[in-house]
């Protein structure tokens, strides 16, 4: 790291050494990518989406490539929160980075239990996924109405003894309403965007490509939508915003910071380039040096309009 360059950010009580986080679902529990780079360089890791009980996930195919994007329908395959704590935290904790547990539930009670269990576990923050489009029951329903978001978040807040991030779905009419509801209910920050509901069809076979017919779009294709939503939300709420959706390099990340994000998450881009997180951190440093910026916080919301 360069001298005189301060990459630290504070996301609603969560200290990050730099603003680049691995997005949930794209980075597993860190083991695989640790073979490619020193993952302690990350500002944080949002782990694969967890549920109270183990989840088998959706039938394959679970991915379809669309122009500059991918649709996925993993359906929250995970070993359950207890196995995560027992088997994965010991590995993750050896790495000097921030661990964010991403959780999904079918009922408010499940969200509450997971918040309680994880508050007693060695993670740094909890990210509520109220927005996963890949499961029949649960999160999408919670995330798509301001009133439901308010009730889930306020109840979970009673159990969460760690910074609480609320992840927002873009599949709504007005995302600022949802963000405001999360803020009022006590969210420490909001992260957005999750994937955009979409579909891919094979005309030759006349069948959908994904095993579960529809899936969530991510990657460069969603970036303009994500940027717009981060911009709108960061002006509507006072809590910090974590921006994501299609970030592939430092320039993309800086655009999100300028739009109002206090940190960014990167997911899909890592599939093509496992070095994307490190390259983004280094690129932000270069940009700061070139523009004589000392603290990355000076970039946040720095859009000139």
């Amino acid at each position: 790291m360069r001298e005189n360059i301060n990459l630290k950010v504070n996301i609603g009580g969560l200290e990050l050494k730099n603003p680049v986080i691995a997005a949930s679902g794209c980075f597993g529990f860190g083991r695989e990518y640790s073979r490619f780079f020193d993952i302690k360089r990350l500002g944080g890791i949002a782990v694969r989406g967890l549920t109270l009980q183990p989840q088998k996930g959706n039938p394959p195919p679970r991915i379809a490539e669309t122009p500059s994007g991918i649709l996925n329908s993993v359906g929250l395959q995970n070993p359950g929160v207890h196995t995560f704590i027992e088997k994965e935290i010991p590995f993750l904790r050896k790495i000097d980075t921030t661990i964010i547990a991403n959780v999904s539930g079918n009922t408010i009670e499940e969200y509450e239990s997971m918040a309680e269990i994880l508050s007693n576990a060695d993670v740094d923050a909890i990210e509520l996924n109220l927005s996963c489009p890949n499961v029949q029951e649960g999160c999408l329903r919670f995330g798509s109405s301001a009133q439901k978001v308010e009730s889930v978040v306020s109840r979970v807040k009673n159990y969460a003894k760690k910074p609480l991030l609320v992840k927002l779905t873009p599949n709504v009419t007005d995302i600022t309403e949802i963000a405001k509801a999360a803020e009022e209910a006590g969210a420490d920050s909001v992260s957005l965007i999750n994937t955009i509901l979409g579909m891919a069809i094979n005309a030759k076979t006349r069948r959908p490509i994904l095993g579960s017919i529809t899936g969530g779009l991510s990657g460069p294709a969603v970036k303009p939508i994500a940027l717009r939503m981060v911009y709108e939300v960061s002006r509507a709420v006072k809590i910090p915003v974590i921006g994501m959706g299609g970030i592939c390099n430092a320039t993309d990340a800086i655009e999100f910071l300028l739009a109002g994000a206090s940190a960014v998450m990167i997911g899909t881009a890592g599939f093509a380039n496992p070095m994307v997180w490190v390259e983004t951190i280094e690129g932000i440093e270069d940009y700061m040096a070139e523009n004589s910026i000392n603290s990355v916080t000076e970039l946040i919301g720095g859009l000139i309009v």
């Binding site: 794209c26 597993g28 679970r62 294709a221 899909t268 093509a272 496992p274």
Partner: protein, 258 residues
């Protein structure tokens, strides 16, 4: 981490399939038969994902390896434009390859279409005394790498769907005939799903162990994203397992092909 390697040779094997010889000490030394690499196509036309391709053969002395690619869609079309001298972005070797147990003395490798590629290095490396290969193609013009396979095994059987070359019919029919004459003690399958499903059943019929190499659409290619799964047995139950990390080669006892 360096993933950029030089292409030494690029040539067509038939109208839609080409072979690339790539210089890489790392991949050629580490690669085991059945393992894969993932190749970046470039961002042209919004193609963002790497394409999974089997390692077809390696030259450990020269530090090179070969991959054979059939043009299917956008990504493989872009790859077909690479020429000798170009740099290409390849990650690998990835995944689990075929088992090379010395206890297996008579093996048969059965492949169909693009599924034949990983079997070439398998036949070269396997310590068995008696190695046979049964390869299936759509028709005569699709038959490729025949000489390479002939040299890598003791006996080669070729069949085509329309009978325009070799036997007419499916590789699984040939397999039964070969097994009836001289049973093998290990079978390896790679090809279309229906062929492998049938193959696993035949292996069971003949009470012979087998391994299959699965295909699935991939994202990260290293086990992190869980998009590339297939069904495998787990105690009394089943689970979805990553083809890229725990496969592509699975034991016939473990895999569930619906």
């Amino acid at each position: 981490m360096n993933t950029r390697y030089r292409i030494l040779k690029a040539e067509y094997l038939n109208v839609d399939t080409f072979l690339l010889t790539v210089q890489s000490e790392l991949i050629s030394k580490k690669a085991r038969p059945g393992q894969i690499v993932t190749i970046k196509c470039g961002d042209e036309g919004g193609v963002i994902l790497r394409r999974p391709i089997s390692i077809c053969s390696v030259d450990r002395e020269k530090g090179t390896f070969d991959i054979a690619i059939q043009i299917r869609g956008k990504g493989t079309k872009i790859l077909s434009k690479f020429k000798a001298g170009d740099m290409i972005d390849i990650m690998g070797p990835l995944g689990q390859g075929f088992s090379l147990y010395p206890k297996h003395k008579k093996i048969i490798a059965i492949g169909g279409g693009i599924g034949i590629f990983p079997l070439l290095q398998l036949l070269k490396d396997h310590p068995a005394e008696n190695k046979k290969a049964i390869l299936g193609f759509r028709n005569k013009s699709c038959v490729i790498l025949e000489e390479e396979f002939r040299q890598a095994c003791n006996e080669l059987f070729i069949s085509t769907d329309d009978g325009s070359y070799g036997d007419k019919g499916f590789v699984t029919d040939t397999l039964k005939k070969v097994m009836d004459k001289e049973p093998a003690d290990m079978l390896f399958f790679c090809g279309p799903l229906p062929m492998m499903k049938l193959g696993v059943e035949i292996a069971k019929e003949y009470n012979t162990p087998c391994e299959v190499s699965m295909e699935q659409r991939m994202g990260c290619g290293i086990g992190a994203c869980l998009v590339c799964v297939c069904k495998t047995k787990k105690e009394d139950d089943w689970e979805y397992t990553q083809v890229c990390k725990m496969g592509p080669v699975f034991s016939g006892d473990k895999i569930i092909i619906d």
